[in-house]
Amino acid sequence: MIDLSELLKEMLSASGLSGFERPIREIIKKHWEPLTDELSVSKIGSLHGLKRGQGAEPRHRVLISAHMDAIGMMVAEIHEGLLRITEIGGIDHRILPGQPVLVHGREALPGVVVQPPSHLLPESVGDGPVEMKYLFVDVGLRPEDVKEKVRVGDTVSYAQQPLDLTGEAMAGHTLDNRVSVAATTLCLEALQNRLHDWDVWAVASAQEEETLGGALTSPFEIKPDLAIVIDVCFAEGPGSNDWSSLPFGKGVGIGYGPNIHPALYDAFEAKAKALEIPYNRDLMPKMSGTDAMAVQIVAEGIPCAVIGIPLRYMHTPVETVSLKDVRRAGRLMAEFIADLTPDTLNKIRWEE
């Protein structure tokens, strides 16, 4: 049995910013190696794990897409031993001052994001939020050493250590979307002891936060018949209580909207109901903000489902998730996949 908390902490310990996924990819490889029949890496850096089905050939294929890349920062300028930064992915500059970070220079350098005092900033800033372009990263080294060890273009990742909160909650950076990679790993583990007709292609996709590059290219190579995209979704919490947020720790989200094939929504809902896995309908009236935006329109088009793990404080270094929901997501996907038959595709159709 996989220890989910340990698995997640290991996954959070590795960086893997969009376009720079190698460190996390190596860790996922290690965990997927015993759970899959074949592993390969796509040209853009996504990890593909194939677990063959037991059905007669040619078998149908189901894709699970869980992006592994993380938001973060990049060194934009070096000045007197201090680093100016720019963002990779969406970061609210208001959460940056005082954050512990890791600068991936010639060696990994722990540092901190610095908000300079008001008298060193333009007067217009006053006591308001300080834009990212005025922030620094300080790695505690003297300028000559910084020059030797850091270059413009080096990545800077969050370095907040994960915290175990009460009620099987965990807080940390990059739980978006390592929780989905972990849930996919749990799904693969559950399938070890199940017969499944279809081939399962687990994909830890690259570059979701910036270009959707992984989600556009892996399905092209794999040509799945169906795709399950798993990502985090908004959980209710401070400043986040409208219709778009789901209760925290009270079940997975099943996405509903134009990126999702309605018959797949129905199939997942029916499966969750049958197994009494708590879930909530996650309304996505326009774009889903997930890999499904890309996967759906690859080649001649692919029917997608979106599974969401509710997460508080998204894109901060203290993202918070309930491990219960991660397990639920893994189980729901495994049960859905185990039930796929050669005939299933005939049921994934439009009403008319």
């Binding site: 000045h79 007197e80 201090l82 969406g90 970061i91 609210d92 500059h93 208001r94 959460i95 940056l96 001052p97 005082g98 954050q99 512990p100 722990p110 540092g111 901190v112 610095v114 908000q115 300079p116 005092p117 008298h119 060193l120 333009p122 006591d127 308001g128 939020p129 300080v130 005025y134 300080d138 505690g140 080294l141 003297r142 050493d145 907040q160 250590q161 915290l163 175990d164 909160l165 009460t166 009620g167 807080a171 908004f234 209710e236 919490g237 401070p238 400043g239 986040s240 778009s244 925290f248 720790g249 508080r312 404080y313 998204m314 894109h315 901060t316 270094p317 203290v318 918070t320 309930s322």
Partner: protein
């Protein structure tokens, strides 16, 4: 002999271990228990007298051996800035207030430790996806923030519990990265000075409380000790960063890293006694210990109340420069710490009754 003392006054593994323990402990103003315990454990075996007073100050006396010993008070505050939980909401989230000077822009997205059991929690922030560009031009106020310790926190946390940033102590090359270097540096230095107390003086070490909420501990400590002179040992900001456009020279740096201990001539609360300032300068020059003058201006230390205690006590302050004080993470140099320890020791060794016998001189 001098050589031997210098060898002893080094920052080595033992000193770093003590500072780490001090920084990782929680001691928000008014609840200094954890640091007080560490201090008591360290000073009891080496002191002539140890008292904990009505406010929670630790007052340590280490007597010298010579004739006509000057009674020198050193003060280092034990408390740090932090938070108090003030309300539990229905959703298991906690409202909190800041204690001490905290810029609320430093709070969103931080890990915290709550209460005596150091329960982990976070101060979250609304997902960026749900904010508007206009909204991001306004800072997030403390009243909107909550501490989140998970859905099953129950009554393990109560209003009144203190909290601090969860930052763990770490060495970064020549530097230290930690919370509360203001003023665990001072606490660590006082302990070290007690261990190597010069024989020519009576050393009166006050580990004070409630500095960050108005220098309250130092006032009663100075009254109780009734010293001949006093030096507050603290940590002061190094604002030695470039200006935003990197064209103007930064003329308000307060202090600089790597420039040695900061000697105070004047701050908002104290106009230093020049005789002690000159003593520090002489000690630094004679022993070739680097030092700098803290730029005169705002801020203050325990000296702000000590120098006005009873009929007046000649005072100044010496600080270890540190960047980013009063935030989750400060960065300071080990060399500056070591030089502060050495400068203070060199100055104390040079204290004679003549120093403060006459009128205050400029």
């Amino acid at each position: 002999m001098t050589k031997k003392i210098d060898e002893a006054l080094k920052i080595g593994a033992e000193q770093i271990e003590l500072l780490e323990k001090l920084c990782n402990a929680t001691a928000v103003s008014g609840d200094e228990h954890e640091v007080r315990q560490i201090v008591l454990e360290a000073v009891k075996p080496i002191a002539d007298e140890v008292k904990v007073d009505a406010l929670g100050n630790v007052l340590v006396t280490k007597l010298g051996t010579g004739e006509n010993r000057v009674r020198v008070m050193l003060a280092a505050h034990m408390d740090e800035i932090g938070f108090m939980i003030v309300k539990k909401h229905d959703d298991n989230l906690f409202a909190f207030e800041c204690i001490g000077g905290i810029d609320e822009r430093q709070l969103p997205g931080k890990a915290v430790l709550v209460g005596r059991d150091h329960l982990p929690g976070v101060i979250g922030a609304k997902p960026i996806h749900m904010t508007t560009a206009k909204e991001r031009q306004n800072k997030i106020s403390v009243s909107e923030m909550r501490m989140d310790l998970g859905p099953e926190i129950g009554d393990k946390v109560k209003p009144g519990d203190r909290a601090t940033f969860a930052t763990r102590f770490e060495e970064l090359g020549p530097s230290i990265r930690a919370k509360a270097l203001d003023n665990r540096f001072g606490v660590a230095i006082l302990i070290e000075l007690l261990r190597h107390a010069p024989e020519n003086i009576d050393l009166l070490a006050a580990f004070t409380v409630q500095e960050e909420v108005g220098l309250r501990g130092a006032r009663v400590a100075a009254y109780a000790f009734d010293p001949d002179m006093a030096i507050a040992v603290d940590s002061t900001p190094a604002y030695d960063l470039p200006t935003w456009d990197a064209e103007d020279e930064n003329v308000q740096y307060n202090t600089r890293l790597d420039a040695g201990p900061a000697i105070y001539v004047m701050d908002r609360a104290t106009i230093a006694d020049r005789r002690i300032v000159n003593l520090l300068v002489k000690a630094g020059e004679e022993e070739q210990i680097p030092f700098q003058f803290r730029q005169p201006g705002g801020g203050g230390t325990d000296a702000g109340v000590i120098h006005k205690t009873r009929s007046g006590i000649p005072s100044t302050s010496v600080s270890v420069p540190s960047r980013y004080a009063h935030t989750a993470i400060s960065i300071a140099r080990k060399d500056d710490w070591e030089h502060t320890l050495q400068l203070l020791h060199a100055a104390l060794r040079r204290v004679t009754p003549d120093l403060i016998a006459g009128e205050r001189r400029d």
